[in-house]
Subunit: 413 residues, 2 copies
């Protein structure tokens, strides 16, 4: 074994990802939802790896796995490296676990080097980011950040089991989940390594990228109502075709978002009624998902689109109904932490491509209580939430090395 | 009773429409499908009215009701006035029956006047135009025109009953339905009075309109395939959004058809997959229904749209699949018969608004064997195939008087 091999981080990381991938509710697929037996097994495994790395490890009151190496002052504020251990159904093996096991590998390397840390370091494997079971995302990180509200306890899974019941069944006390919240001032900052889940790094031919913000999002449900009619007997200029109106709205979304980097708008669902080939659609319902790293940018786009939709509806004699179904502000990354990550990227010899995260991450929950920053690792084809999700050993190595270099710099700063 | 009232045609016509409307497979709705007990009752009732009007009446080998007044030569060629007695499910009371009972009323008036006819006149109530039961339209008029092919006998209804079985159950002999075909030269011409089923006459504030042609139609099933992706992580310029592509196609249809009178294009169905608000649609299937009174006009529009769709797909990195699911040529109305109808319209004091029929009618089946012409009667809101279908007494009176005036002129010509 050469020195180079001895120092490589990726082999152990990928071996651990493989081990986690084998812990699933389904044979031949990866499914690990909040408060499931699979999650308990995965958490125990991760806690063991944390201890091997020289950390104290515990499962907190909502099921997050928390590993910790103390700094000079026991119990003092910590730099947190985190991501999540839960998955969507039929998931890939990288989304979430990669950030946790890469964090453990970096702490392990620092320990081996005998680095003197000026602060504590924690690695956290959050128990619920995807929201697969209870249709409520970020339960783990919101509990950690103290922003989880008590109404979560009565939320049910598809079998009608409440979060409170599921907590009890998994050995937790629903009355005590508030204890997972970290005291003010106990978190110095939050770093997360995650696969990109998009194609930007692949297009730029780079293994890693520096996240500028986790985009805010607005989701709308829109309904255009015109008049159904016979496809043969109503002249084009006598129509109030709701689908043609929706088509104009879809192209307006595209035209408004395309010129602005970071801004994305998607119409993902559309249903046309009555839905017969020989009938002009009288009513169309469609969704709009609008995201931007900058909340003002998103609000400006939404305001422009509201005007565009209203003009389209008026010009076509359609009525427009619009309901906001979801709204979340952006979580900008901290400039100082970003600068440290950028130095880590440079130390490994890469340019620091800056890009927003259009997908949500645990950092959204942490941002209100601590500065956050994120490092993206390239994934093949931008594919995620899918068994085909893939990040190469070389890219994982690059990502872990950047994280390690950043930690060394933070420790030395 | 004044002379004016004695001459009015509409009261008897609407009373007969009411009587037919009460013959239905469903209480509180009008549903009368081919070879049903309801149809047999309706046919017997109509045959009785024909006899009251002085006509010989019979049910032919496929179930059409045929009334006839002989001309100077018994068995000689006949002018046919027709429409259909079958309905869609939950139908209105005018679509079809109006043309049959108006025809009977006109013959009755001619008989009362003691008009000497230079040719025979027949009134036909076709047994199947809508195709409600066997998903095959115009069975009655195709049989009458001799163009019904034998494969019709094995076609099944939703209960698995074949046309042959249904014919037997209704007292017909499947082996003899060819006898419904009229010998070459036995039909001088075909006139049909029908509600417009569109809004053109209402917009023009006219009770009647002169049909130029029954439009031909092409129906396509199209599929655009791009790439599904995360609504947050794939930049706008990296997308292959099948729904945005379909939106561009829908607007291309509208833009191509709008400037040309008579040409109509409709996208009536659209499904976007995978169909989640946070996923870029990777595949969209949609229909196109293209109609025009002139086949060259329709073919030219289709050729232009094929080019437009291919350009849209290419520019967006989408693949396009296109299947023709239906194609029917137009049935132009006969200029000489149209001129007689136009004179009839003028005689009643109306301008002759010329308009194509975008909907199909029995005349499509008759056109290959005889000159055809059609008179449209205004219907409220253009609504048809719906219980709200409505034509006013005044408009029915106007339509019937135009038909009667036309018959008088034809008889005198």
């Amino acid at each position: 074994m050469t020195d180079t091999n001895r120092d490589a981080l990726a082999p152990r990381i990928t071996a651990r990802l493989d081990a986690l991938a084998s812990i699933s509710a389904e044979d031949g697929a990866i499914t690990r939802v909040y408060l499931s037996p699979e999650q308990a097994r995965a958490s125990a495994l991760v806690a063991g790896w944390m201890r091997e790395a020289g950390m104290a490890a515990r499962i907190d009151a909502v099921g997050n796995v928390v590993g910790r190496v103390e700094g000079p002052v026991p119990g003092g504020p910590a730099l947190v490296i985190g991501s999540h251990l839960d998955t969507v159904r039929d998931a890939g093996r990288f989304d979430g676990p990669l950030g946790v096991v890469a964090g453990i590998a970096c702490v392990e390397a620092l320990m081996r080097e005998g680095a003197a840390l000026p602060f504590a370091i924690e690695v956290v494997g959050f128990a619920d980011e995807e929201g697969t079971r209870f249709a409520s995302t970020l339960i783990g990180s919101r509990a950690f950040a103290g922003s989880l509200t008590t109404d979560i306890l009565t939320r049910t899974d598809p079998d009608g089991i409440t979060v409170a019941e599921a907590l009890r069944a998994a050995g937790f006390d629903p009355a005590r989940i508030g204890e997972a919240a970290r005291p003010a001032g106990s978190i110095l900052g939050y770093l997360e390594l995650h696969i990109e889940q998009g194609p930007a790094l692949e297009r730029a031919d780079l293994p890693v990228g520096l996240v500028t913000a986790i985009s805010g999002a607005t989701r709308l449900a829109l309904t255009l109502t015109g008049e159904a009619g016979h496809a043969g007997t109503v002249a084009m200029d006598a129509r109030r075709d709701a689908l043609a109106g929706a088509a104009a709205c879809i192209l307006a979304v595209e035209a408004r978002c395309r010129p602005e980097p970071g801004l994305v708008g998607t119409v993902g669902t559309l249903t046309a009624a009555p839905g017969a080939g020989n009938v002009i659609p009288g009513r169309v319902r469609f969704s709009l998902d609008l995201r931007a790293p900058d909340d003002r940018q998103r609000r400006a786009a939404l305001a422009d689109l509201d005007i565009a939709f209203a003009e389209i509806a008026a010009a076509r004699g359609l009525s427009l109904d619009r309901v906001v179904t979801h709204e979340a502000g952006s979580a900008p990354c901290d400039p100082a932490l970003m600068a440290h990550l950028a130095e880590g990227i440079a130390a490994e010899g890469y340019p620091a491509l800056r890009l927003p995260s259009g997908a949500g991450h645990d950092g959204m929950a942490i941002a209100p209580i601590a500065p956050i920053a994120m490092l993206f690792v390239r994934c093949r084809g931008g594919i995620s939430h899918n068994p085909a999700e893939f990040a190469s050993q070389a890219d994982i190595e690059a990502g872990a090395r950047v994280l390690l270099a950043t930690l060394r710099r933070l420790a030395a700063a």
